[in-house]
């Protein structure tokens, strides 16, 4: 018992002592979380992330260690900084449980005479199913009048493009736990010969079209695709616009017309609506579907929120970690957002208050309703989260989820900054 008290006291002293580093070149955080399923008793989640940052000469070096129930999963190192006109970022990832090098990335950017230059290089080890691979890409971006021009020359690697689903960067998964890491430079091949060139010209608008973007992508095999995207084409009806996406590939031509509805800014209740089109004739608008309603109001430190999903086949409420909002299920899956597929309504109360010793405390209670439940009012589940500051650098947290079958899980967490 004495030994346990001694260890606990030492740990507390170390944790509090680390906060004294605040303001120095060494900073960082340590966060941990344990989630327990009571019946049958099991650990649903055990995680610990330690991040250490060291700032010197305009550069910040960082180390991140990530643990899960099965052990030490990821060890990452990073460096970001500025050297003269150059901004640099480096990342290095190791698989700790197998003692493998996994991935590295170097990004150097600068801007000269209005032209942005970017150099992206990455390597993927053969410990990953799709490896080994390495490569680099050179990105040039600038303006010519009103036009924005971006050119990416690929030498075995692709760079993530938030506007294009075909260029998603790389996400590396740990197969046993599903934990993953995401990076913007995706190495595709071994060797660094020329593999592709992508040129995008956007910013061109005229009259009734807000933006016209053109993308040409050539690979080693020759022409890959040419795409024209016309956004927010006005129809003469205030609330109705449409987008056109025309893509030419070597043997195919694809035209997608997407009508969009603009209901304007709500002053009271948010209405989530979509235009319904005939799947057989995509330009035939058959109706307007209201798939959700939302309401948020604040008084003092208290925020009350209500979300209602009227079409649970295609839409869902995301978990608190992903913003508690109504999102299309297909989009949520594509973006890796977690959501509740079974609940159609949420009532949420959030209270943010001043902590006793710095920082702020939060209390969140989300209650969800399920159409298929026979409990009072169709109650399905209640999720409660509490965060309490010990001082401005140390936070404790707890969460409980109770559903119709009883206590689903209970969790505890902490975060220490220094």
């Amino acid at each position: 018992m004495t030994k346990k008290i001694l260890i606990a006291t030492t740990l507390l002293a170390v944790v509090v002592g680390l906060t004294l580093f605040a303001g120095g070149p060494l900073s960082g955080s340590w966060s941990g979380k344990i989630v327990i399923n009571p019946d049958p008793f099991s650990f649903a989640e055990v995680s610990s992330i330690i991040a250490v940052n060291y700032a010197v000469g305009g550069f910040v070096a960082a180390s991140s260690s990530e643990f899960a129930l099965t052990g030490f999963i990821w060890q990452g190192f990073g460096v970001t900084g500025t050297l003269g006109a150059f901004n640099a970022q480096g990342n290095l990832l190791f698989g700790a449980s197998t003692a493998d090098f996994i991935y590295d990335q170097l990004i150097v950017t600068t801007s000269i005479a209005g032209i942005d230059f970017g150099f992206y290089a990455a390597q993927l080890s053969d410990a990953v199913l799709q490896g080994p691979a390495d490569g680099f890409a050179v990105r040039l971006a600038g303006n010519a009048g009103v036009l924005d021009i971006v050119s990416i020359a690929e030498f075995g690697a692709q760079v993530e493009d938030a506007e294009d689903d075909n260029f998603n960067g790389i996400t590396i998964y740990h197969a046993a736990t599903g934990l993953h890491k995401h990076y913007v430079t995706n190495p595709l091949v071994v060797g660094q010969g020329f593999t592709g060139e992508k040129v995008t010209v956007s910013g061109w608008s005229f009259g009734c079209v807000e933006d016209i973007a053109t993308t040409l992508y050539m690979t080693c095999h020759g022409f890959d695709f040419l795409r024209f995207e016309l956004s927010a084409i006005e129809t003469g009806i205030d609330w109705l616009n449409f987008d056109v996406d025309l893509m030419f590939q070597l043997q195919t031509k694809t035209l997608v017309v997407t009508p969009t509805i603009n209901l304007g800014k709500s002053t009271c209740i948010d209405v989530y609506a979509e235009l319904i089109t005939d799947p057989a004739v995509m330009t035939s608008i058959t109706g307007i579907g209201i798939y959700g309603l939302g309401f948020t109001t604040s008084f003092g430190n208290v925020t009350v929120k209500d979300l209602t999903v009227l079409n649970t086949s295609w839409y869902a409420i995301t978990t608190p970690e992903y913003g508690t909002k109504i999102e299309e299920i297909a989009e949520a899956l594509k973006d890796g957002h977690e959501f509740y597929p079974d609940y159609w309504e949420l009532i949420s109360i959030e209270v943010v208050g001043d902590g006793c010793c710095g920082g702020s405390s939060t209390f969140l209670a989300n209650t969800y309703f399920n159409k298929n439940e026979t409990a009072l009012f169709g109650w399905g589940m209640t999720h409660i989260e509490v965060t309490i500051p010990i001082n401005s650098m140390i936070f404790l947290s707890g969460q409980v989820e109770v559903d119709t079958s009883g206590l689903d899980h209970i969790g505890f967490g902490f975060e220490v900054g220094w």
Partner: protein, 175 residues
């Protein structure tokens, strides 16, 4: 000082040009070969991945994941009777859960064998986790394997995906 006569200089110049031309030719061949992707590009095969069992105490968990799935991604999976073979796992304790939009349609575990079916009604998964199986461990080194011949996978375009690999030993994969 110049110790070479004009004839000797000419020979060296011609040899230098030939070396440069040869180097350029070799470089061009390498560049073109690299560009064609014939030697260097890795084939990105559709793969169904069975993760290593993650054990904590007497509880275990196995994740089924996919990567490089074609035709807008995998949207359905059916593992026939005896398609799953286990060892040192209590079959009565097995729970199967769909992940990332997948819904479990049916599952059964008896003895050392199991089967299941799951589908995603809204979209396909090109890469990522799709099914989580939890169980109680009854002995050391529990194992969880699939018989590929008893597994059928379908795409979001409602077509059968026929060309794919089964991987049970990788620790990492990418999307």
């Amino acid at each position: 000082m110049n110790y070479l006569d004009k004839g000797r200089k000419g020979v060296i110049a011609v040899r230098s040009r030939r070396v440069v031309v040869a180097m350029l030719a070799v470089g061009l061949i390498f560049a073109l070969t690299a560009c064609m992707g014939g030697w260097f590009t890795h084939e990105q095969k559709a793969t169904l991945i069975i993760g290593q069992p993650a054990i904590s105490g007497n509880r275990g968990e196995v994740l089924i994941s996919v990567t490089n799935m074609p035709s807008q991604g995998l949207a359905s999976i059916a593992i026939d009777d005896q398609g799953i073979v286990t060892a040192n796992i209590d079959p009565t304790s097995v729970k199967v859960e769909g992940l990332n939009g997948f819904t479990l349609l049916a599952s059964e575990f008896v003895g050392i064998y199991g089967c299941l079916a799951a589908a995603n009604p809204t979209s396909g998964s090109v890469g990522g986790t799709i099914i989580k199986i939890t169980f109680e461990v009854t002995g050391a080194d529990p194992t969880f394997t699939l018989d590929k011949t008893k597994v059928s996978i379908g795409s979001a375009l409602n077509t059968l995906i026929t060309t794919w690999d089964l991987n049970i030993d990788t620790s990492y994969y990418a999307k």
